[in-house]
Amino acid sequence: MRMIRHSKLYFLWVVLVPAAATLMLGQEPSASLAAQTSTNDGVSAAAIAGAKEDPAAFQRGSKAYAKYCAGCHGALARGGAGAPSLVRSLLVLDDEKGLLIAPVIREGRPDKGMPKLGLSEPEIADVVAWLHVQTYAAGHRGTYTFGNVVTGDAQKGKVYFNTTGKCSTCHSATGDLAGIGSKYEPLSLQTRWLQPREGRRGRRGAAADSKDSDAALPTVTVTLSPGKSFSGVLDHIDDFTVSLHDADGDFHSFTRNGATPKVEVHDPLKAHTDMLRIYTDADIHNVTAYLVTLK
């Protein structure tokens, strides 16, 4: 009887999986990423590498899992109507090299309604590899992949860019932003336009090559007395010191004591920070959709 129920679920699985795969395709921003997702059961290549499993074994395991296991345990092993999640299974999480998992697949769990399915030993090893990748992928944020961030209305984004958002005060679609939609993936583009400085964090090599980076650096004017001041690119500021590089590249450093000397920092990116209090999420998605069109 349990075997019959299993078969029914297997039928459902065959019907539903293409739908699930389509949903996943819809999340992905590019065809290449989408292809990767559909063949990798929702995990990235980074997850397979991180789990130190053989990609070929993972791919074979995907087929074997779909054939024998998915009907009860769900397409991604996260549980189904007939059986528990394997991604949250203590036995699976505790497993090394299949020592715990393989006997269960080999013998089944008749007391809990899991039949002996007759997988070959190589098939069992492949399913073990596939499961290890699934648990690794769930637990490692570094292997996660972003979905589609281009959901806004490009026309509304264009209007916002030129009116309410005042983006056009500093930027031009045909000037500094020409081709920006080709230069960056949509997620990177959204991250960077929201906060160019934060967006560059961790990618300093790339920023050094970027022509707009110098213009975006904060500048400072330190006034020691009326008529005696130093201006340049801000090097460092805290409550006790301020330092800068002037137009000749010379370095100047000053001791601060409260309001003395007078220090004025000018951050050309301040508007980006100030706007964070004003944007709606729809504004953000619309502007991203618009910038993506600037190919």
């Binding site: 949903l23 999340q27 929702g42 769900g74 991604l76 996260r78 549980g79 528990p84 999640s85 991604v87 949250r88 203590l90 999480l93 505790d94 648990t135 769930a138 637990g139 490692h140 944020r141 996660y144 992949t145 972003f146 979905g147 589609n148 961030v149 281009v150 959901t151 806004g152 997620l187 959204q190 991250t191 929201l194 906060q195 400085r197 934060e198 967006g199 964090r201 460092h236 500021i237 805290d238 409550d239 006790f240 920092v265 980006h272 920070t273 964070l276 209090r277 944007y279 999420d281 953000i284 998605h285 991203t288």
Partner: protein, 530 residues
């Protein structure tokens, strides 16, 4: 008269060193001696207020380095001492992931070093050790509780408290209450159950275990869609709590629910995650709870120290508890029963709640749940504040906390019906930077603020009866006037202060000590007091 008092206290303070290794009577934790810092927060209240006055606002300009000492050991990512050192009978005990050291408080000289073997656990941080008689207790990245002989650093025993393959990791400084070791746990990369447990200080045997989320038939299970969701709902206990000996209640903040950023498989309030709970340390039974973030989806653990304040509300003396929570709101509760008194945002950018309900709880706005295309949310993912220690000064009535006013874009990455683990990612979107805040506990109003020109604002604090507030910015250890909010003193260190500053008396002289990276720095007045 001054001389004799100094001489007398000098003898008293020197005495414990003559019987070095005498150990720590748990009763000493009830009244923090001037020559000790015997538990993570100095005393059970969590307020990190030192009654010492020798170093004070009129002489702090003469505060200067007594010694510094660097410590080495094996830890993935290098040694960074996020611990608050304990000081007991002239010896400092402190830790970093996989490492414990003992050092002579007179000069920082290492007395012993305990190296825990390499393992796969996360080395994100370790908050310190707990002490009971001659024994130290230390939690490891691979979730063992280790007991060391404080005299020698030799391992006495170790017990496993959770399975590291399930992605648990441990960072807590154990808190000792009577003959109970309060043992917490961390790790939310997979959807594993959170808990607090009590262990026997002699044997490490389990005395009781309290699961953070309810099981079948227990109160609170109705705040989860099903038992499996609750059992995998996490709510970790990765910070030391506070304790009221009169009420015999241990107060603890709990962490975020799992899956962290995906909420569809865990509709409901998700008790007792992101909550402040009161636990009887003898029985492990929960006396009350208050949830500061119902149904959290932004990783805003409520583990921040719940500080105990014996204060006055509307003219009536009250036993209070206050937390500046990672979600951006400041809460004051009655700690006898958990009844709500006050809720107020302490950063002005908070945008994730649509209302504050009658019980003072911010109710999340579904429009700010992480989405595939991203939502802009403040506080940022790291929170308006985080684990670094706040301080409460009973003389000013002000609660001092390091804060951050920033935004993140929160993205949902796992749209499956059964999302797993983090299930989402975030990207920094910038903001207005960090600030030191002084909050009036009676109103939640900001009495004064100091915005930092650069660097992180989320740092640890210590206030003293010498009318001083110690904090840090960048590599500087800084002293403020705690009433007015102006800077009185600073010292530039070799790296950013990484743990909470402490203060103590030694041979009649007051010291301020802080860990910065792999180095301890000890400060004293460089001229005689008075």
């Amino acid at each position: 008269m001054n001389f004799s008092r100094t001489l007398f206290s000098g003898i008293c303070l020197a005495l414990p060193c003559l019987v070095w290794g005498q150990g720590l009577d748990p009763a000493a934790l009830l009244k923090q001696p001037a020559n000790m810092w015997p538990t993570y927060n100095g005393d059970y209240s969590g307020r990190r207020f030192s009654p010492l006055t020798q170093i004070n606002s009129s002489n702090v300009h003469a505060l200067s380095l007594a010694w510094s000492a660097r410590f080495t050991g094996e830890s993935s990512g290098g040694i960074r001492i996020k611990a608050t050192p304990l000081l007991v009978n002239g010896v400092l005990y402190f830790s970093a992931p996989n490492n414990v050291w003992a050092a002579d408080v007179r000069n920082g000289r290492e007395l012993w070093h305990y190296q825990y073997p390499p393992n796969t656990g996360s080395t994100i941080g370790n908050r310190g050790v707990g002490m009971y008689e001659n024994w130290l207790y230390f939690e490891t990245p691979d979730s063992h509780l280790v007991s060391l002989d404080a005299k020698t650093g030799k391992e006495r025993w170790k017990v496993q408290i959770a399975n590291p393959k399930l992605d648990y990791t441990s960072t807590v400084a154990p808190v000792i209450i009577k003959n109970h070791i309060m043992v917490g746990i961390g790790g939310d990369h997979l959807d594993n159950p959170g808990f607090l447990e009590s262990r026997d200080p002699e044997t490490g045997a389990l005395q009781w275990k309290w699961w953070t989320t309810p099981r079948k038939g227990e109160p609170g299970i109705e705040t989860w869609p099903n038992e499996a969701a609750a059992a995998h709902g996490t709510g970790q206990t990765w910070m030391p709590g506070t304790y009221d000996p009169e009420l015999n209640l241990y107060y603890l903040g709990t962490g975020n629910p799992n899956p962290v950023m995906a909420e569809k498989s865990r509709k409901g309030d998700n008790l007792y995650t992101c909550s402040i709970v009161a636990i009887n340390p003898d029985t492990g039974k929960m006396a009350w709870y208050y949830q500061v973030s119902p149904h959290d989806v932004h990783d805003w653990d409520a583990n921040e120290t719940p500080i105990l304040i014996d204060g006055t509300i509307d003219g009536q003396p009250r036993k209070l508890l206050a937390q500046a929570s990672r979600n951006g709101y400041f809460f004051v509760l009655d700690r006898t029963n958990g009844k709500h008194i006050l809720t107020k945002p302490f950063i002005d950018t908070v945008n994730w709640a649509k209302e504050i309900n009658a019980n003072g709880q911010p109710i999340p706005d579904p429009a700010k749940y992480p989405s595939v295309d991203g939502v802009l949310v403040s506080p940022a993912s790291g929170g308006a504040t985080n684990w670094p220690a706040p301080s409460f000064n009973p003389e000013t009535g002000l609660f001092y906390v390091g804060s951050s006013r920033a935004y993140s874009m929160f993205y949902l990455t796992d749209t499956d019906e059964h999302p797993q683990g983090w299930a989402g990612l975030d990207r920094a979107a910038g903001g207005d930077g960090g600030a030191l805040l002084a909050i009036d506990y009676k109103t939640g109003d900001i009495a004064w603020r100091h915005d930092w020109p650069s660097g992180s604002g989320v740092v640890s604090n210590l206030s003293t009866a010498g009318k001083l507030l110690f904090t840090s910015n960048g590599n500087y250890l800084i002293a403020f006037d705690p009433a007015k909010g102006n800077i009185l003193w600073r010292a530039g260190l070799t790296s950013s202060p990484s743990g909470g500053p402490i203060s103590y008396m030694l041979n009649g002289k007051q010291y301020i000590l802080v860990a910065a990276g792999d180095t301890l720095f000890s400060f004293a007045l460089n001229q005689p007091a008075e």
